[in-house]
């Protein structure tokens, strides 16, 4: 995964991001983690776990699912730190891992549902969307989350990144590891379903 020029979906300021000038940079932590320093891995984890949880939850709005997704994403990242070409881009790289791992999980889950191995769990949009949201934002978010479980995995992820994370199409393509044209097709399909769902 190349994350060099990518704006991460984890774009909110991190509560545990290095506030002081003396705090180690992501690059320093990545290099130390690559050298086998557990404290560096832990520092990276603590720096970004809340942001990763936020992103995971917005794609898979169930606490247990998002916990599993975040754990798997950090494990994947820590085991493949050697593949991160720009150590300072850890945040963006982690973000793309969360997005792509979420897509895989969603595809697997849909298959399991089709095979009767698990039942679909509807998303309670009123539960997911904060009561503090302004009315217009809440209405859009409820419409999105009311539809998500009916969407194929790629359409679902693309729609969340677009409508909730507010990413641009090239950024979504980078996060998902798809071409821009594919993302456009997925978004068009998802937006069409959203439009139809809104009609009385």
């Amino acid at each position: 995964m190349n994350a060099l020029a990518m704006k991460p979906a984890l774009h909110a300021p991190s509560p545990e991001a290095p506030a002081a000038a003396s705090a180690p940079t992501d690059a320093a932590l990545v290099l130390a983690a690559r050298a086998g320093e557990e404290w560096a891995r832990e520092a990276l984890f603590r720096r970004y776990v809340r942001l990763a949880l936020g992103l995971a939850y917005r794609i898979l709005p169930f606490d247990q699912d998002s916990d599993d997704l975040v754990q798997d994403s950090f494990l994947y990242a820590f085991e493949r730190l050697e593949h991160l070409s720009n150590p300072q881009a850890f945040q963006a790289w982690l973000s793309s891992i969360v997005v792509r791992t979420a897509g895989k999980r969603l595809r697997r889950r849909r298959l399991q549902i089709r095979l009767g191995l698990r039942s679909a769990t509807p998303i309670d949009a009123d539960e997911v969307v904060s009561r503090a949201a302004p009315p217009d934002v809440a209405a859009e978010l409820r419409a999105v989350y009311g539809l998500l479980e009916k969407l194929p995995a790629e359409e679902r992820v693309a729609l969340v990144l677009r409508r909730v994370e507010r990413l641009e199409i090239p950024e979504i393509a980078e996060q998902m590891g798809l071409s821009i044209s594919t993302v456009k097709r997925r978004l068009n399909a998802a937006e069409g379903r959203l439009e139809r769902a809104r009609k009385p």
Partner: protein, 362 residues
């Protein structure tokens, strides 16, 4: 004004949730087998004893003990008594076995730290003396830690069951220490620390003595020498539980596991009833187990975490880790008990497969 929609779809992320996630991630990143072998290579297998020779074997093979003086010089020693009870003598510690009969076991901790898992035997007297403190046991798991120097200190921590503690400084007074509690006697503390014991000592009639409920030591109160209370905030200069918890976290992130463990220990000592105590005990157990190579200390801390009712997900992890810690100690009986406790509590738990494979056949 623009609104960022993502702000309004946010999970509830608590510190406990973060700690649990990190615990799971770090555990899955570990390679326990390689660490065991590294420990074995570094630790060696033999230490001298002044009086009798004690082979310090790998934890899976505790050594039957005989009368005499035991010394664990550079690495811990695990030993078993004939009744199946076992103990682990920490590195740098020494202990005398004065009596080992079916009706009476008498041990004297001369220096350092020892952890016991005592098999229940009706009518048998099992006592351990450390300095002027005597601990009498029925059937339990507990540890005694002594510190020499200007402020000699004896700490008794009970993991399971209960013990009775007598101090020569308070003749005729018996303190009953239950699971999850610690009893500490030390000198040289500031007056503020010695001023407010949380509970009165239990009278010397164990059969009728009520069991204390506080997670604090029952400290013989009275005149000097000062007996420490672990009450929270009894001194103006005592760091708060929050400060200690944050200090531990900072030390961990800085890679200083020893300092982190010390901060958690202080939190548990000074604020044993604080809401963070259970999590602190769990983290302390994890550090001792994963970073400090102290399986006896890990057992002590993890048992305490369980006794303190750490949150449900931590409790499951703590019970699973206890199985590994007892296995690392070579304490097969305790390992099997811990394994069965986990499996009965969490028959569909996330650690079932790894726990079920521990401690030999069921």
């Amino acid at each position: 004004m623009t609104h960022e929609p993502s702000r309004y779809v946010a999970p509830h992320v608590t510190d406990a949730r973060v700690e649990r996630l990190w615990s799971n991630v770090s555990e899955r990143l570990e390679k326990p087998a390689s660490r065991v072998w590294r420990g074995l290579l570094l630790g060696g297998a033999l230490a001298a004893a002044a009086g009798l020779a004690l082979w310090l074997t790998r934890p899976a093979q505790p050594v039957p003990v005989a009368l005499g003086h035991l010394e664990a010089s550079k690495t811990k020693a695990v030993a078993t008594l004939r009744d199946g009870s076992s103990f682990e003598l920490a590195a740098g510690s020494s202990l005398d076995v004065q009596q080992e009969q079916p009706t009476s076991v008498a041990l004297v901790l001369q220096r350092g730290q020892v952890s016991f898992d005592v098999t229940h035997r009706e009518g048998r007297k099992f006592s351990v003396v450390a300095g002027d403190v005597e601990v009498r046991v029925v059937g339990t798991a507990f540890s005694i830690k002594t510190s020499a120097g200007d402020a000699p200190r004896v700490e008794v921590s009970v993991l399971r069951g209960a013990v009775e503690v007598r101090s020569a400084r308070r003749p005729g007074i018996v303190a009953r220490v239950a699971a999850g509690q610690s009893w500490i006697q030390e000198q040289g503390l500031r007056e503020a620390l010695s001023a407010a014991p949380l509970a009165a000592p239990v009278a010397a009639t164990p059969a009728t003595a009520p069991e204390r409920t506080a997670d604090t030591p029952s400290t013989p109160a009275g005149a000097a020498p000062a007996v420490a209370s672990t009450a929270a905030g009894v001194g103006n200069n005592v760091p708060s539980a929050r400060e200690l918890f944050e200090k531990a976290g900072e030390s961990r992130r800085a890679g200083d596991a020893g300092a982190a463990a010390h901060a958690y220990e202080e939190l548990l000592r000074l604020h044993p009833t604080d809401a963070r105590a259970g999590l602190a005990a769990f983290e302390l157990g994890r550090l001792r187990m994963d970073r400090l190579g102290d399986s006896a200390g890990a057992v002590s801390a993890l048992e305490r975490a369980v006794a303190l009712n750490v949150g449900p997900s931590f409790r499951e992890d703590a019970l699973a880790r206890l199985v590994s810690a007892y296995a690392a100690q070579g304490n097969g009986a305790a390992c099997a008990r811990a394994r069965d406790r986990y499996l009965s509590s969490y028959p569909a738990g996330v650690h079932v497969s790894s726990v079920a494979a521990r401690c030999g056949s069921r």
